[in-house]
Amino acid sequence: NWEQDGFSQGYHAIGYIFLPGDGPQKRFTAPPVNSPAWTQVSPKPQTQPLPVFTINYPRIQVPFEITLWILLASFAKIGFNMYHKITIWIPESCLLISVGLVVGGIMYAVHGMPPAVLTSNVFFLYMLPPIVLDSSYFMPTRPFFENVGTVLWFAVVGTLWNSLGIGVSLYGVCQIEALGLKDINLQENLLFASIISAVDPVAVLAVFEDISINEQLYIVVFGECLFNDAVTVALYNILSFVATMPEVETVDVFLGMARFVVVGLGGLFFGFLFGFAAAFTTRFTAHVREIEPFFVFMFSYLAYLVAELFSLSSIMAIVTCALTMKYYVEENVAQRSCTTIRHVVKMLGTMSETLIFFFLGVATITTDHEWNWGYILFTLLFAFVWRALGVFVLTQIINPFRTIPFNFKDQFGLAYGGLRGAICFALVFLLPQNITCRNLFITATIVVILFTVFIQGISIRPLVECMKVRRTNRKLGTINVEIHKRLMEHTIAGIEDICGQWSHYYWKDKFKKFNDRVLRKILIRDNRAESSIVALYKKLELQNALELLGPAPSDLSAAPSLMDLHVETKPTARTKRNFPASDLRNMHELLSKNMYKIRQRTVEYTKKSALPNDSKVREILIRRHISIRHSFRVGSFPRTVWNLNVSSLDNAEGPGLEDKQSWKMTLHPCSGSRGTDLELEPLSATSSVSQLQRFSSRQERPLQNRYHQPERREHELGQQTSREPIAEGLWGQPQRDSWTAHRYSRSRDEHRPGGGNLPPSAPTGWAQEPLIQKGGGSQNHLNRRPHWRPHNPHGPQSPGQVD
């Protein structure tokens, strides 16, 4: 019998089992295959000639159908994301469920019987870990730890509040004779309530993207989503055990609570253990780069499984593991491994979640529903009411402890945005068969999920817009106002960052000391105490420089930096331009679309279903590249530097000018191939000399021009720095060293008075000092590389030491 061989094992393992409670007896076949024919095709062709062409569907059936499903779900995702507008208004879970519904309908119609569904093992062992890993890996750690109290407060206490509230209310409702539900006891109601209270509010983060700049809310929502999964699952486990008990005594209640704590802390412990193990392991993987990503996955999965072994909270384990190891691992592994890890984590998580929603859609159509309108409607009502109440009460309690209290809009977002997600559905589906009214629970859960996802998910954006409109003056201000307002917002963001958050500062400081002294030494391979900005900058630069230049010529060619050096500032007296209304509208639109958002970095984390997109941050960073370098150097503050440079103009102008020229020349055809860029450089050296001579004769004016539009130079420089790796790639080591060295030597020179180089970022147009006219001391630079400073006693510096 073919069922006895590995085939059925395959089914169990991958979980493509049919109806819960039924054994794998029913066959889900496309072309019906019965045993005899099957055995005939198997290797014993004695009574038949050798088959030339055979179809062996059952063999591949399981992986084949799974792949098809995943593919279908992915097509659906591609489809949605083509129309960007849709994803703004409709959360992605909506769309996935819809597709699931459609597919379910088709399958039902075609087969007349319910298709495959999940089992407990499949879900908990294979589908849940990727989702949780995904969420926790991309959690921004610093804001998270600053808000960890709030997050845990909402997650743990909030979920408990919800469960208890809904459970007890439903029990009360059940007592009503009219509904005929007297047989559902308190435990079962509580169990059901604990399932429903798992919210997934991240779906609405996309809505808040450009409405609120509240970083705190993002983090709380993110964290809450993550941790309340843990709480829900723990509760679920406890309560499903309790629900099967005939009687509950008070001792059991206390035991339950104790178990809750044990489960949480145990998970935490294993998470830390495996997190540190992973970090430590990656310290030694310098020579086996190919398997580096493996460690991340294997260790986190191990953490999960070991916690499951001890019946501890595996979600907590995997979350803690990911959070601890991320920081150290990302420092140890190669850039490519880092990218791989992120991509795979995101991929697995998305796939898992997509599949679950798919199942949801399919199951909606195909299960035997048990309708009890009263129960279902009350469930909906209570779910909503208790969530709102919970958010409100909890916020009131915790607001005094927060540096930034939650205002009404935040609370509304939290409450109304409490969509139910994949976890709810999976958990209810996996209820043991002996729960009475199991089907009722399933139906109710599906209704709640559909309602929250569709109705609340779609309506939240218009509602928040309404609220925003009522609060702020919607009238289109002048361009002035828009620009100045944004400037002020950036200013406040900057000031707040300078002030730093004040709570938990003591612990953060202590941890940082511990981290630097102990942990980093053990867990990180190359422990250089780098200023975080240098590390950040280097990482970004390295990670993205090639990308920046490769497929995106538009970045460079459209950059305003490509201004002709010889363009003089236009005379200040301009004729008044008349701006037609359409122009104004365009301007407003341009401004609203293109102004950088506040704290661009955090905004990038809000889209759950997308990889954090660093491009804007990169852009800002690269453009401010020189400024950042300035901020490291003692006494190198732009104003002072400017003063220094002015006095040494005669020395500095040479290379400065040449560089400028060379950059200008090289940047010109940059929309094309890389090769041409670099070729022009040597040429520029010679041409620049002639420029030099010209300049030396009219020192003042061109310099004035140059420094009038210093921002452009900054851009140019920005472009130039990002080209550094190209130099490396094409020209090999020496060139790179010289470029890097050049850059660093230029920066080093800042230290020496009189050696001041022209930092193009003197840019932010500080004082236009009167240019001191020294005698035309242009030096002969033909003999040297254009980029080397004439007197440079420091020589090339190694790129590693900037500070």
């Binding site: 002020m488 341009l590 960073l621 901020s631 970022s761």
Partner: protein, 194 residues
């Protein structure tokens, strides 16, 4: 509390600072701790590189201008007093401040806040925001794909809207007038300093 007293006693001229800036002693204490945390090397003053350790400032488009605002003309260091004084600009307004005509303008008044913002634009301190200064700021705040012409049109329009005396630059008064409908007290106040 013992510790708070000892911290506060380390700060010279505390009374004057409190009076000038309007911060409470608790605030000043917190700010002092922050100052110390930023001041790597315990020098007693801050240099631009200390500000560099604030990660978010790096990705703030006008980060360097903000840092620059802390350093007054020609200075390379910021001592605690100046630090607090600058931050005092962003304190929310006191609701019931008695208006005494002879007292100096409080540091967190609307005018002071506006002046701070104005100085972020006006780097050369000539009292006007020239077209170029405006362009520079615009460039930092707008994404790279905005073309130069678009930037210039925006700058022109901005000046046109605000410029009342036709000198093609925005003076402080014109700046102030253009923002009269905006709730500056709210926009330029930090919740942290409440």
């Amino acid at each position: 509390m013992g510790s708070s007293n000892s911290t506060l006693s380390k700060i010279p001229n505390l009374g004057r600072l409190i009076e000038e800036t309007g911060f409470t002693p608790a605030h000043i204490k917190r700010l002092y701790k922050r100052f110390q945390a930023l001041d790597k090397g315990n020098k007693g003053y801050l240099s631009p590189q200390d500000f560099g350790s604030v990660k978010e400032l790096a990705t703030n488009p006008i980060g360097d201008r903000i840092i620059g605002a802390f350093f007054s003309q020609g200075q390379e260091t910021v001592d605690f007093h100046s630090f607090v004084r600058i931050l005092a600009h962003f304190r929310p307004l006191d609701k019931n401040r008695a208006k005494r005509p002879d007292s100096p303008e409080p540091i967190n008044s609307r005018i002071s806040k506006l002046r701070f913002a104005f100085q972020l634009y006006d780097q050369d301190n000539d009292g006007k925001i020239s077209r170029d200064e405006l362009l520079q700021v615009l460039r930092t705040m707008l994404e790279m794909q905005v073309t130069e012409e678009q930037l210039e049109s925006i700058a022109d329009r901005t000046i046109q809207e605000a410029d009342l005396d036709g000198d093609n630059a925005i003076s402080f008064d014109e700046f102030r007038k253009s923002l009269e409908k905006v709730n500056i007290e709210h926009k330029m106040s930090s919740r942290f300093l409440h």
